[in-house]
Each structure stands twice: as structure tokens, then as C-alpha cells.
Amino acid sequence: MKPPRLADRFLNWFCAPHLREEVLGDLHERYALRVVQSGEARARRRYWREVLAYVRPSIMKRQSGEFTNPTTPDMLRNYLTIAFRTLVKNKGYSFINIGGLAVGMAVAMLIGLWVYDELSFNTYHKNYSRIARIMQNQVEHGVIKTSQTLPYPFIHELKTNYKRHFKHIVTSTHTGDYILSTTDKKLTKKGQFIGAEAPEMFTLRMLKGTWAGLQDPQSILLSASTASALFGDAEPMGKLLKINTDKDVRVTGVYEDLPQNTELHNAQFLASWDYFVATNAYMRQKKWDNHALWIYVEIQPNTDFDKVTASIKDSELNVIRHLESMKEEAATTPQMWLNPMCNWHLYSDFTNGTVSDGPIQYVWLVGLIGFFVLLLACINFMNLSTARSEQRAREVGIRKAIGSRRIQLISQFFSESFLVVFLAFGLAILMVTTALPWFNDMAAKQMSIPWKNGYFWLFNVGFVLLTGLLAGSYPALYLTSFQPVKVLKGVGLARAQMGRFSSMPRQVLVVMQFTVSITLIICTLVVYRQVQFAKSRPVGYSRDGLLMVQMQSDDFYGKTDLLRTELKNTGAVTDVAESQSPITGVWSTNDGFRWKGLSTPSTDQFATLSVTPEYAQTVGWQFIAGRNFSKEFASDSSGFIINETAAKQMGFQKQSAGSAIGETIHWKSQWMTDNVEKSFIVLGVVKDMVMESPFQPIKPTVFCLFGNPNWINIRLNPAISTSDALPKIEAVFKKLIPSAPFEYKFADDEYAAKFRTEERIGKLASFFAILAIFISCLGLFGLASYMAEQRTKEIGVRKVLGASVFNLWRLLSKDFVVLVIIGFGIATPIAYYFLHNWLQKYQYRTEISWWIFAASGTGALLITLLTVSFQSIKAALMNPVRSLRSE
């Protein structure tokens, strides 16, 4: 006899509450009439049509409240008052909530700044979108090699035949160290010799002079800091300078220092390319197969990089294809292409012609970590707010009973959560401001908070709104939906009503938090282990007290013997030797070696370093077999000393280390032996020296006596302190080579610098891991105390019935331990996957052993137990009389 239930429910859903009574009454009355008139089946069918006829705006529109536009803000102010009171009443929760969220926000902001800085690289230049540098791909031994250095004749080719594509073509030398000297000052500064159009193309901000400053060959533009270093407050314009010892130039402009996030920020001065060519006659003689310069271009506005690349692709090949002397070079099929400025920083590594994982990966990785830390903080915030809000169910009931409308309660809860988020935001800004210098230091950046950037604020406001909405939505929407009768009749009922549904998402959130934390712990441990592993690698020479001085100008040459004796006479130095690279780098590699059993020269690349016989003593070579070069034997000039890897590669190591001694090696090199095959005798084999990256395998190395050493290595006398020794050494250099400033590097500093990237990653990872754990623990602490509080009665009853403190502790801690173990289970494969990939980058790498996982898991578990135990033991120790009496 009853009308269709579903239709009624549908009506109840869309019909405005104040109309429900009359509408439903009408429908039911008519239904009863119809049943009598035409039977139940037809009446039911008609009923549906009748209900649908009510679907119209006038029926659906809800009655508006009596006080939609409050005339006095008293009640609104009361929301804030209540919010503040709740915060103050639960000081602990408020602290955890606001503090945790603020830390998360601060970290996210720092990371955001870092990512922004990375992405905005080079945007300082106004023509950013149209500048590129010309790159060259060549196929060598079946592998595509990408290089930025181009052959000299290419300039002419580009400027005559392809000029129409480009607005500017700017040639440049590498950024290198040069001595700038005035009459009374000498400084080493990095700089480039660059085409006259460079200032205009790179839109340098000229503080003095104009963009045309490089038109005159004998001119120089200084960065503001270089100018003040050289001239102090005096007027730099028009002053005369010497670059190294041979180039006289006049200062024609001063430009604002380029910011740290530009490619050219290293260049502290710019001098004229034409003058460089004029004073370095050898440049003009360089052929197509000698790559020695860089070319920057700005393309015409009406074209794009792809089009220009397509047209200049074969520009070199088309010329050298017809040159008899360039057959070998043409065989590498040189391909030219444009690398746009926006890719210089983040997509700068190439393997086999394609972009390999470069800095962009770090941007993604760090961004992801930042996101997760923020997520952790938000999860916490939501968890705690929802946990707390259940206690306020009674408040909701009373408010409703005395006439509060639901919409008012919703706005009350939202205003509370927004208040907390705003407080946290303020705190986060404060934290970022104080931590930024330290963070800059760690990340090697010069970032500042972009106070004036609209997007920064837009982003922040967006974030505050989002977090406030998410965190406030549960109490605002769910709690306010209860019927006051049910809530007020018994808190237990309300709790039972929501308990089953509300604890599940919270558990998921805790698992997520611990997954992130444990992953980060594992990452930190592995990065740290990898750095330690490489640091403990045997280096093959002694780094302590080893000083390296680059021979920066021609004045050094011919004076080395004099230097040696004078330095030794000071007593501060035990040995002095020259070499072709600093000990912490390999600057020259060659092929063309032919050893026993080979009929044609090998294509393997060997590091080739020319040294003086004193090198062995100075750096502390460890001989495995044979002897050092000796000045006694003139024939040693055609002798080699090779390292262990080279001996192995040449197949000598198979019998014994000594078997290489006395063997003949033939070498034909275009650069080192004038393209004539010469023979050399192996005099000795030394232990491998880690000269390049400590994470990569050692290059096979050949040491010889001929060539052009350009570094002086000085071994300090260990009996004399460094601070005493340095002035003595400096005095000798000042006396013998007055034209150059005395600048030196310590081998151990340089070696330590090789770990900087990895150490930075390690530091960042541990920083984030600590924060993640901190935030997770805060959340856990809050949740544990909430749980303990909620189960006060249960604990009381259990105690009365004879449960021990240990029993209760186990009862309360168990839930959390399970969650952490699940988190660990998820974190392990994720961390393994990422770290395994990361380690593949290093040839010389540590293993990911099981104990790292075990240690992180145990660590996380211990931290959890500590956090939870504080609350659970407190709850377990409570006097049951108290907890049961209170109501």
C-alpha cells in the first residue's frame, strides 16, 4: 500500500527541507486516492511521474537563513575567540600541529626556491630565448661524441655562408685564469676573450661605458667586482691593464656582476677576441681538426633553432669533404647543431649524441622530496585535526541544539583550520628567512626570497587555501552532519558511529609517512656509505703538504731549475717537480700506442703526462717494479713510467708486475711525437693514482720526460708549519717571477673538492630525512596521545581487572608498530630501486647490503616505540580510580 520508497528518498534529497512536509503529504494523499481509483500498480507508476514533476527550482531552492548578512561581527569574532581558546587549551597539540606544518612548509619553500633558481638559469639575458651555442657531434670509434669546442676555420665558413640566419655570431675562448695587472696590483681572474658583439647579445647591464666597449681590440670590460678589486673606489674607465704579461688593454666598460645562476657568471672580465687572435698567432694556423674555440650565436627573430640547425648541420662536412688533408676528420662526419640557452644548464651532458641524465634529474628528485616532506606535514596536520575534532562532537551537538545552522558550524571549523595554517605559514616564512643563508651555503647558491614576485605569493596563498580546506574539511563537513540528539545522548555512540570509518584513512596516512621517512633514511645511509667508500680508496700518492702552482705565463719557463734550488734553500720545501697537469686532474689523453703483440697502434686512450724526474719524490710515487726516471741516464728521455692499469691493459700484468720493465712501447701521436712512430722503454710501474674522479676507474697512464709541463708541484717540509713555509715560498716566487701573482692550490683541498657533489647530496638527503622523521614523529606523538586519551576508560577497566603496565603498553604500541612495519615493507623496494639506479652512475661503488635496510627498519621502529611509549606508559600508569570516576 505504501508509495515507492526510492521515489520518496529521491524527493527528500532534492526537495528543500521546509517544503518536505506539505509536498510529501500531498503526494501520499493523492497516491491513496489513485490506489482506490485505478489500482496499486498504476498508482505506483503515476507516483514516479508526480515526484518528477516536483523537480523544479522553486521546490529545490533551500530557504535562506534569517541572518544571512550579519549586522554585527560578534559571532564571527566568537569563531576566532573559540579557535584561539582551543589552541591555547591544547598547547601540546597546537605546538605539534603548527610547528610540524611550519617546518614542512619551510622546507617546501626552500626547495621551491632552489628549483626555481635551477629552472631560471640564464634568464638574466634578455635574448635568452634566441641565444644558442654551436655544438659539434662527431662519430669516433662508433660512438657519437658531443663537443662545444669548434675548429678555427669554421668561423670563416659560418660568417660567409650562413650569416643570414644569425643576428650575432660571437666567438670566444674557454673561460680561463688570467693575470690582470695594474702598475701596483696583480690579480688572477677568470675571463674570456670574446667577440665584440657579446655585450649586446648577452645584454650585459653596463654600469660604466657601453656595449660597444669591445670594438677596439685593445680593450677590456670588467665586472663590477673585478673593477673594485683592481681599482678600489678610483675611476676604472680608461685605465691601462696588462693581461698576463703580453697583452696591454684599456678598460672601456664595467658591467654589473652576472648573477650566480647564469652560465657566464664565472667570467670576471671580457676582452677582445680579435686581440687574442692577433697575439696568438698559432690560432690562425689551426686547421679543421683542431678544436679550440666556442661560438655563441643569436638567431634571427624570424627563424627557430631547428630550422637553423637543419641548415648548418653539414656546414663543416661540406668543406672538409673536399680537402685531401682532412680525410680522417671527414670520416667522423662532423655535424653542427644549436644548443639553445634554455638547455645549457639542465641538459648539458650528452652520451652518444643524446641528452643523458644530468642536473635535471636532481631538480626532479629534490622537487619530489620537497613535495613529500610537505605531504608528510599536511598528513600530520589532517590527522591531528581530525583526531582532535572527534572530541568536539559534543560542542557541535550543543551548538546545534541551541540553534546553530550547519553552514555556520562549517564556517566555524574552516576558520579554525585556516587560522592554524596562517600561523604556520607565518612561522614558515620566518624559518626560511633565517635558514636561507645556511641553505645557500650548503647548496652553493645565492638565492633570496622573491618578496616582490607575484607568483611566489600566488603560490603561497594557493597552498594555504588548499591545506586549510583539506585539513578543515573532515571536521567541517563530517562532524557537523550529526544529529544533535545522538551526539548528546552519549559520546560513546558518536564515537562508535565514526570510529570504524575514520581510523582507516588515518592508518593509511601513517603508513605513507613512514614509507617516506624510511626511504629517506635508507637513501641517506647509502649516499654516506658511497662517499666513505670512495674516500677510503687508496690514492697512490701523498696529498698532505703538497702544493701546486700553475705556470700561468711564459715568465715561468726556463726558470724552473732556479726556482727549485731557491725553494729548497729556504728549507721549507723538500722537493719540487714539474708536471703537465695538477695531481688532481688529467689534462691530456692520447692514443696511438703499440705494444708487444700488436701490429697496429691501439685506439685506447691513455693519459699522457710529462713530468720531471723529481716528480716521484714530490708526490710520493709508490713503485711496484722498476725505477724512477733519472737525470744520470740521457736515454731516460725515451723512457716511460706506466701505472698499474696501463700495465694491465698492455697485458704485462699477467705474469708479474715486473714483467713490463724493459719492454718497448711504440708511440705515434700527432701532437706529442710529430706523427712519427717512436719507441720507448718501460722503466717502471707505479701504483694507480686517483687523479680524476674517485668514483671512476683509473685511466691507464703513461708518464714521460718530454713535453710541456705547466704545473709546479712543491712538497713542503713536514718539520715546518704551513703558515711559516708559505711566506718563504712566496718570497722566492716574487723574486724570480715578479710578473705573476703567487697563487697556489693544496692537493688535499682539490682532492676533497671531488666529493663535493656527493657530499652535498648526502647532506641534503640527511637533512630531509631528519626533517621527515621529525615531522612523522610529531604526528605519531599526537596520534598516540589522542589514542591513549580516547581509551582512558578501557585502560582503567583493564587495570581493575588485573592488566599489568607491560600488557597495556603492548596493547597501545602494537597498532603503531604494525603500521611502521607495513611502511618499511613498502619503502624497501622503492629505496632499493632508486639507489640501485643511482649507484650505476659510479664505476667505483659500494654495495647496497641488507644491513642498511635492517638498520633503517630497526631505527624507525625504535623511534616509533620511543615516541609512542611516552604516551602509552603514561596512560598505563594512570590510576584507574581517576579515569573511571571522571565523567
Binding site: 512536509e21 506539505e22 503529504g25 500531498d26 501520499h28 508526480e50 518528477l52 514533476a53 516536483y54 521546490i59
Partner: protein, 111 residues
Amino acid sequence: MRRSDLGEFEEVVLLAVAALSPKAYSVVIAEELERETGNSVSTGAVHAALQRLEQKGYVSSFLGEATAERGGRRKRLFTVSALGGRILQDVRAVRNRLWERIDSHLLLDWQ
């Protein structure tokens, strides 16, 4: 006072309220109209029309007694207001005047 305020259906509903007074409410109005016109009329349509008429001030309403077949729910009873009555008379006067002007032969043709 614009005449266009009153739609055709509204006019009929208003007339029905007047005819059924003082016991006019959605269900009886809908039933009455169905009987008179032979078309099916839903209470939803009548309800909406009554809402509009009340907004315009042509009817006034109050909640009446509850009955069993309504599930204990009260009904909303409607009476025509003075303004509503005048409007009805206006409408009728306009129609009457027009009727009177129709040629009697034509009227005969229609029958």
C-alpha cells in the same frame, strides 16, 4: 498592474482556489482540474503555480490539519486574497467584453 502577470494555468488554478474555498489545497485542486479538463494534472505543477500566485500576492496560505492518508503530515490550504479576487474579475471583464463583440452569426457557425 500588468495583465500578463497571470499565466493561463495560473488563472485556472486561481479560479479553482476560489471555487474550492475554503478547502483548497494542491491535491483537491489537481483532482478538480483533472476532472474539469480531462487532462492529467500533477500536484507538482499545481504546487509551483500556487507558489507563484502566493509570491504575487493573489493567494494567501496557512497550514491546515493532518490526516492519516498524508502520513500525519499537514496540508497547506490556500484562499484567494482581495487582490487575487480583483484580478480574476478584471480578467473576466476583459473576456466578457471581447465575447460580446463577436458577431452572433459567427457564434452560430461555431455551434
